[in-house]
Each structure stands twice: as C-alpha cells, then as structure tokens.
C-alpha cells in the first residue's frame, strides 16, 4: 500500500520530528511562536478583508470627536478643563477606538467556540495558553492599528505632530489595547453564548466609559463615582494618554483624572498597573482555558 518512491507522500511524511537530539526546547518554542504568529496573521487578514467594517468601527469615535466635540466646545469653558473640549475629548476617543476591536476578541473567542473553529485550533499541537496568547496579541495589534488611524487626527484637535508625543501616545494605546483585550478574553473564556457576553458588555461598558474621564472630568462626580473610577481600567488608560499629552504639550494639560488619596499616581505606576492587570487577566484566562476536558 505504501509508495515510498513517490515524490510527495502527502499524508505519510513525518512532520517535524520532535525527538531530534538537543533541539527539542528550541523547536518547541519556535512552534509555539509560529502558532502565535498564525493567530496574529489571521487577525490582520481579517482586518484587511473587512475594510468597510473597520471604517464603520472608526466612524463612531470620529463622529463623537467632531460633532459632540465641536457642539459642546462653546458650552464648556476652557478654564474648567484646562484646554478646548475637542482636545479634552481626544484621549477618550482614542480609548473608545481601541476598546471596540479589543472587546471583539472576546466575542470572537465565543463565536469561534460556537462555530467549531476553536476546536480546530485546540487540535493544534501547541499549549492552549499559546492559543490564548495569540488571540491576545492579535487583538492588541489590531486595536493599536485602529488607534493609530485616529491618532492621525491629532492635528485636527490642535495637537502638534511631535514624534515623541506620537510615540508616547502609541505606547499608551498599545498598553491600553493589551489590557482591554486581556480583560475581554478573561471575561469570554468562561462563556459559551455570545448573547451573554453582549449583555454583560451592555451593562458594564457604558458606566465604564462614563467613568473613564474621557467625556468629562471625574473630579466633578460624587465621591462614590470617584471610587468606581479608581477601579476602572479605562480611566487609567485615558489618564495615561492625557498625561502623555501633558508631558509634551504642557499648555494642553488638563485637570487631573485619576486621583488617589495620596495624590496623583506617577505615570509609570499607572502604566505598570495597566500592565499588571492585563497580564493577570491573561494568566487567569489561560489557566481556565487550559483545563483538560
């Protein structure tokens, strides 16, 4: 039955031999990295295949920025914000841009589970944690790319195209994307039905956005809302972006966002917090995802 002389024994060839002496750890890691790359590649392909969808997702923050922003600009005095309302709104809209695709990663985990695609992924000879890491990396990159598109509008709200400022904002966007993606995955990993995820988001997202300091300063809110905002990852993301701007463009500095009892946390501590929250969420999600059936 076998045909050893065939030029391409499509189904009989041994795949990469695992037992080759001395190369197991390196080969193993390389295979895991290829799997991560495969999932990132899938997200990028989907992004480029769904241009209309992407454009529509970007439309909402742009509308907010220019319609809500210019509409309210005259009503809100500069003195209460430290800057014009559009410029004030900008970090919040960056956050909104980034948050949508990041959350989509969670929804896709559930729909992939429903459609059976996830099972195909689970068949791959890699750790399950690797698959989750790949999804997270893909979501982070796609969100960051969309954030960068909105970042291109910085000039329209009066921010200079300063390379260092853009680099800082890019870093902030990437970090925030990562944290939200990881949180979305942690939320989605235990759910089987997308409706439940949508419902949870519907209940949770609007308060999170309102308490992020993206639309209006948190300091004007009552004390309990302060406490909630201090536990809101989006608020840290917005605050981080706001302070990146303040670092490079001091005259655009706005009123403080996050304030702890000891005062404003240092910008590096804020970044570290976002990172730790993201990593913790990802580890927890991986742990749950890796449970054998």
């Amino acid at each position: 039955m076998t045909a050893p002389s065939l030029p391409d024994p499509a189904a009989t060839r041994t795949p990469d031999t695992p037992g080759a002496p001395g190369r197991e750890p390196g080969a193993r890691l390389r295979h895991e990295l290829r799997a991560v790359h495969a999932l990132v590649y899938r997200d990028l392909l989907r992004l480029s295949a769904q241009r209309t969808h992407t454009a529509l997702m970007l439309l909402q923050p742009v509308l907010y920025l220019f319609i809500l922003g210019s509409g309210l600009a005259d009503l809100i005095p500069r003195s209460s914000l430290g800057t014009g309302y559009q410029a004030y709104l900008f970090p919040g809209m960056l956050m909104m841009t980034v948050q949508t695709p990041a959350i989509m990663v969670g929804i896709r985990l559930i729909t992939d589970r429903q459609s059976g695609y996830l099972r195909e992924l689970l068949m791959a000879p890699v750790h399950r944690a690797t698959l989750l890491l790949g999804s997270c990396a893909g979501g982070t990159i796609v969100s960051t790319i969309q954030g960068v598109v909105l970042l291109g509008l910085a000039g329209a709200v009066g921010l200079p195209y300063d390379p260092l400022l853009l680099a800082l904002l890019l870093g902030g966007i990437a970090l925030t994307s990562f944290t939200i993606t990881a949180l979305a995955l942690a939320l989605a990993v235990g759910l089987n039905r997308p409706e439940v995820f949508h419902m949870l988001l519907g209940v949770v997202m609007t308060p999170l956005l309102f308490l992020s300091g993206g639309f209006f300063p948190i300091e004007n809110l009552p004390g309990w809302a302060h406490a909630l905002a201090a536990a809101n990852p989006l608020a840290y993301g917005v605050d981080l972006l706001r302070r990146c701007i303040a670092l490079r463009v001091p005259d655009q500095a706005t009123t403080a966002g996050i304030e702890w009892s000891a005062g404003q946390p240092p910008i590096l501590l804020e970044s570290a917090l976002l990172l730790v929250v993201g990593v913790t969420a990802l580890l927890w999600a991986s742990h749950r995802f890796s449970r054998p059936e």
Partner: protein, 364 residues
C-alpha cells in the same frame, strides 16, 4: 521535498513507514504495526444529578497501518466521543490508547501532531480565502512559512481546489468546503487521518468526490484513514470496520468477513402462484430453513443462495408454476448490524431526531 526540509525539520523527508524509530514512539515493536490501538477505553461525563453517563464503555480497537477503517454506528453511539479520545482532544476516564505511536494520555501533543482531523461540524474562517485558511492552519502546526505555503498549494491541488485558492471560503459550496477541510487535515502530513462523518450533508456527487480523494490517499500514500459513518455503503468500501452501539464494540472485521459470519444469502422468488410455490420451495430446500411468504413473493435464507436458484426454478417449473423473477442477495451490513444489535441501524435515527444545536456538542 528534501529541499524544503530546513533547520527544524531534520526528518521531514522520511517516509512514515520508516519513521517508526521515533524516540517518542512506544518502544514495543509488536504494537507498532497498529496505527491505532486501544484497550478498555472508557469515557464518562458527569450528569446533572451526580450520575455518570458513559459515552464509550471499554473499547478495544486495533487499526493497522495503511488501512481504511470505518467506525459504523447510529447517531449517539459514541463515535464522535471515541474520535475525541483518539486524537487527544478529550481525556479518557479509563483505559489506554496509542495513536500513531504516541500515548494519548502521556503525549497528547505528539498525538495531535501526528494525526489529522475532520470534525463532523467542521469550521473554516468564512471571511478568509481558501489559501489563507490553510496557511494559518499550517503555521499553527509549526510549519515554516515557506513550507506552509508549499503544503497549502500541494494539498489544494490534491483536493482539486487549486483554481479556487483565492476565493473567500464563504463563496465555496458545501462539497468544496469539505474538500478544503480535507486539505487542511493533510497539511501537516499526518500519519493517521480521522474523519467524523465526512460526507454528512453532501450531495451524492460531492460525497463521491470526497471518497475518491480518500481512496487516493490510501492507495497512493498508504495513509491510515479512520472514518466514522452511519452510511452502510461507505463502511462497505473500507478495508475493515467496527460496529459500535451504546458505546460498546459489537463487531469488528472486514465487510466481507462480517457478512460471511452471519452467512446466509436471501433468495427471493416471484412466481405466478406464490402460495403454491411456497409449498414446493419448502419441500425442495433443506428442511430446517424458514421459508416465508410476503407481498414480495417467496423468500428464504440459505448459504450460497445463487446456487439454489436453478434448483428451485427447476422444481417450480416442473410443477407448472411460472417463475417471474429470482434473486439471491448476500447479507448487507445492515443485516450484520441487525444480527448484532437486534435492530436496523436506521431505526434509532427516526426515533430521536438530532437537532442541529444538540449535534454540535461533544457529548452525544
């Protein structure tokens, strides 16, 4: 392919038949002729009220290298669960299984690396093209970029989809998708290919195409193919088959052997006067055989049925009864199934229609 065997693929060019010296293989030469070997395989799921439902109860299976093996059983018999166990996607509750030389409990990653799988409700990314779907999958299996592209092209050609490589999957027909999934299952050159009801929901033409590809794999590349089905005619075309019912193996063997084991052909006669013919046939045939009369005519079960037809016809003619038609039908696999389980394979399907939602779950 030697030219593509790069830094991390030292033995890619080795043929399956010679690659069994693999370090991770179970070091028992006697077992290595089997592509799949299970002993006492059990899978139970915890029920809602503390009870345990057993989907698979003590399975002993042996599948040889290079054979096409059918796993025949009605819906809910435990076929899909067995596949999930064999490709190390689920952990058995008890028992052991060795697939492609690796233990499903000890080295599930090795098992998954060496087997290909087509799920019953398989899924492709509908927004991506055929080629993109394959490329992503090849990378997931750790193929290097260039090798992944090459394998995608090769497998697309193998299943006759080379001209549709740039079509988004959502534009492909059901049969094409199934073939694309077949290509995907072959990307990493598995030693054993599992297919869970590969032709369910396909039209006869697409079904024949899928089987044509499977036969090519077996005949040209010596692939071991393990296919679950509830179509008797598909099981008929396999080298060997096992019949599973209620999580237990009820019979295992070649289609011919299984049918020969229950033996007798069914001889049916349509005559001018069936009632009179019944008496004559009873006298002519061996005395211990049951001869029945129904709307179809006179029938009896007898070994080597076709040899009896001339004798029965001669006896009938000599009594002046005209024979309109005579046939000798060898036993079918449904007869085999009936023999072992006491019912037809198609009976339980009508009793419990499977809803699409229930069918997607892993638990039967």
């Amino acid at each position: 392919m030697q030219s593509h065997a790069g830094d991390d693929a030292p033995a890619r060019a080795t043929l399956q038949t010679t690659a069994l010296t693999d370090r991770n293989a179970v070091p028992r030469p006697a077992e290595q002729v089997y592509a799949i070997s299970t002993r006492g395989l059990v899978k139970g799921y915890a029920g809602p009220d503390g009870t345990t439902t057993h989907a698979v109860r003590g399975l002993d299976l042996d599948v040889l290298q290079g054979e096409t093996f059918a796993f025949l059983g009605p819906n809910g018999a435990g076929k899909s669960t067995t596949l999930a166990l064999l490709c190390a996607l689920a952990r058995p509750t008890a028992g052991q299984a060795t697939v492609a030389g690796a233990d499903v409990l000890g080295r599930p990653d090795q098992v998954r690396k060496r087997v290909g799988m087509l799920f019953q409700h398989s899924a492709l990314d509908p927004d991506l093209t055929a080629e993109q779907n394959l490329h992503i999958h090849a990378r997931l299996y750790g193929l290097r970029r260039r090798h992944a592209r090459l394998r995608a092209t090769e497998t697309l050609e193998l299943v006759g989809l080379a001209d549709r490589r740039r079509s988004p999957v959502r534009t492909l027909s059901g049969g094409m998708r199934r073939r694309l999934e077949l290509a995907r299952g072959l990307l990493h050159s598995p030693r054993v290919l599992f297919l869970d009801e590969p032709t369910t929901g396909l039209d006869p033409h697409a079904r024949a195409q899928v089987w044509e590809h499977l036969r090519t794999l077996r005949d040209q590349y010596g692939s071991t193919i393990f296919v679950t089905t509830h179509y008797l005619e598909e099981a008929e075309n396999c080298d060997r088959l096992a019949i599973i019912d209620h999580g237990r193996l009820v019979a295992q063997g070649t289609p011919l052997g299984l049918k020969a084991a229950i033996g007798d052909d069914r001889v049916a006669l349509r005559t001018g006067d069936d009632t009179a013919a019944l008496q004559i046939v009873r006298r002519t045939a061996p005395a211990d055989l049951a001869v029945t009369l129904d709307a179809e005519g006179v029938s009896l079960r007898v070994p080597d049925g076709s040899a009896w037809i001339p004798r029965l016809c001669a006896a009938l003619e000599s009594h002046g009864i005209a024979v309109h038609a005579a046939s000798a039908t060898p036993p079918t696999l449904d007869d085999v199934f009936f023999h072992h389980t006491g019912r037809s394979i198609h009976t339980p399907r009508q009793q419990a229609p499977v809803s699409p939602a229930a069918a997607t779950g892993a638990t039967p």
